[in-house]
Symmetry: C2
Subunit: 329 residues, 2 copies
């Protein structure tokens, strides 16, 4: 059977729809020198991919029209023309959105032996966990005893933030949409959960954090960010990660409380996981330890089959996922 890959057929206007994508056969390709063929076992879909569907320069280049998309994937080597990789090796790479990939050896990462499943390297040991780890500890300089507010706490990044913050001795308030997700966030160890489908976010948050917050980990933007401005304590630090609210256009966010940045000396810090790749070993050691010892749950929402990849991606924006969204091949 031919290898197949999802192509982006046109640039979405606002929220993407199924017709923006098409599954196409990949041309048969013999391996060149230092190339490796990988059979993918899991594909990652992530909110940042929405940005790559626009034709604008950002921290990652835009997807090209009618060309295979890419993204995080794990799989097993099935053919190799590089002496560093052998058939059967488990690897992580960026040629996702397809079932079989030809990858240059230098773009391939062997999975370190941390006693965890390979798919963890797309979740709590990959981009999502790393975003949580470095955002919380570096961008927001969060430390033991801090009161931390995390938006979209049932999501992939948010659920990792909750667990890392609890493991580090912080008080955690998470927001999530609906009772089932709120219950999940509590299960992860959050001290308080705010259900933002119930309205009154600021009122709910101020009841959950009567002394205010020291850290805000932002996955949402909009009203969540404004509520964090409203309740920030002196020298509060905000890690700006997602603002998924704004990914598909719509009205610009208005902020009633942004002026508190001054009086409270708030620091708002944007960050990108890849800025911290040099420190991956620290991250893998700490978070790998939490996973291996059962102190960190890796809740996933898994869709089956390459055909469902766009469904999985679109589900990120409708709240279809609890924890990390993956596609299993």
């Amino acid at each position: 059977m031919m290898a197949r890959a999802w192509h982006l057929m046109r640039r979405p206007d606002g929220m993407p729809v199924m017709d923006d994508f098409a599954l196409k056969d990949l041309p048969a390709a013999a391996l060149g020198d230092d190339q490796v063929r990988v059979r993918n076992s899991y594909l990652s879909v992530d909110p940042y991919m929405r940005g790559r569907m626009n034709d604008v320069k950002s921290y990652v280049p835009p997807f090209q029209i009618d060309a295979p998309m890419d993204g995080g994937a794990v799989g097993e080597v099935i053919e190799s023309k590089n002496e560093g990789f052998a058939v059967g090796d488990k690897v992580l790479h960026m040629a996702g959105w397809r079932d079989e990939a030809v990858v240059d050896a230098k773009a391939l990462n062997r999975l370190p032996d941390l006693g965890v499943e390979p798919k963890e390297f797309l979740g709590n040991l990959g981009l999502t966990g790393g975003t949580a780890y470095f955002g919380l500890l570096e961008a927001a300089s969060a430390k033991e005893g801090d009161i931390v507010f995390v938006s979209a706490a049932a999501g992939a990044v948010g659920s990792a933030v909750v667990q890392i913050a609890k493991a580090r001795g912080m008080t955690v308030i998470g927001s999530a949409r609906g009772p089932a997700k709120c219950a999940f966030v509590k299960e992860l160890g959050a001290d308080h959960v705010v259900d933002y489908s119930a309205g009154g976010l600021l009122r709910q948050l101020s009841a959950a954090a009567p002394k205010g917050i020291d850290v805000y980990f932002d996955n949402v933007g909009g009203d969540h960010l404004d509520a964090a401005f409203a309740l920030a304590r002196q020298n509060a630090r905000f890690a700006m990660c997602g603002m998924i609210d704004g990914y598909n256009g719509g009205t610009p966010a208005a902020f009633r409380y942004i002026m508190r940045v001054i009086a409270m000396r708030i620091r708002v810090q944007g960050f990108i996981y890849t800025d911290y790749l040099a420190r991956t070993a620290d991250f893998h050691r700490e978070v790998g330890g939490l996973i291996a010892s059962g102190k960190m749950q890796s809740r996933e929402t898994v869709m089956d089959g390459l055909e469902r990849t766009p469904d999985a991606f679109l589900g990120l924006f409708s709240g279809a996922n609890t924890g990390k969204m993956l596609v299993k091949l």
Copy 2:
């Protein structure tokens, strides 16, 4: 003649008006131990005082109703019951909004001998210059070679930022309202000036800074802040000082470009001058040197007479000042 002081008679709703204030005789007061009587020569009016007219907790306590207001003032000792101060000493203190003040010796600062006029200690060597100095160099970590955008660059803080940034070898773009103020900002040494009364702020700024900006010193908030988000380069730093736009209420600011915080790893840092008081000597040495050597102009807008203090204050919000607004007694 009795000493007199301005009282706040009611809390302004939105923009303050003259009837919010009343000039009243101060009760005659004999000096207690360690108290000093000062005849004020200059009073400072500053935008932050608007916040003190609201009944909300902030970094400085609110003014009380029908009690003398206070604020920065310089003057001369005319009577002393403290051995550290003698008649004729030039001093800086916070009992402004009045012509004569009784001050505890411990709340009084003798003016250091920097070879400059006493009123400088209300301007470029006081709160306004210190806000510029520490905001630019500490909150925004600005350094030689940076491209710096300063809003309200003809104002008290803004004009100090322009000059300190130029003295430190930065490229400076200032915004100001109308041709006269723009010409003044150019005179101060700014490389480019954007006239925001002409509209098209983002278009103008992007023409003045085709490579984008490394530092934004915010005195305005609103559309200026959004334009800075739009044009920030990677690792840009914003010092959040004023947001005078929002001081008198009105619609909450909407931001179209705030999402760039993430991709550009922008750091937005609120700060207050008084956080840096321990470093006043460094600030006085550098900025005092610039003033004494003629490298820093102290443009002031001076109103004459205690009676005009509220006019001077209200003028801050209508753009009546170029540079620091002072009242001369």
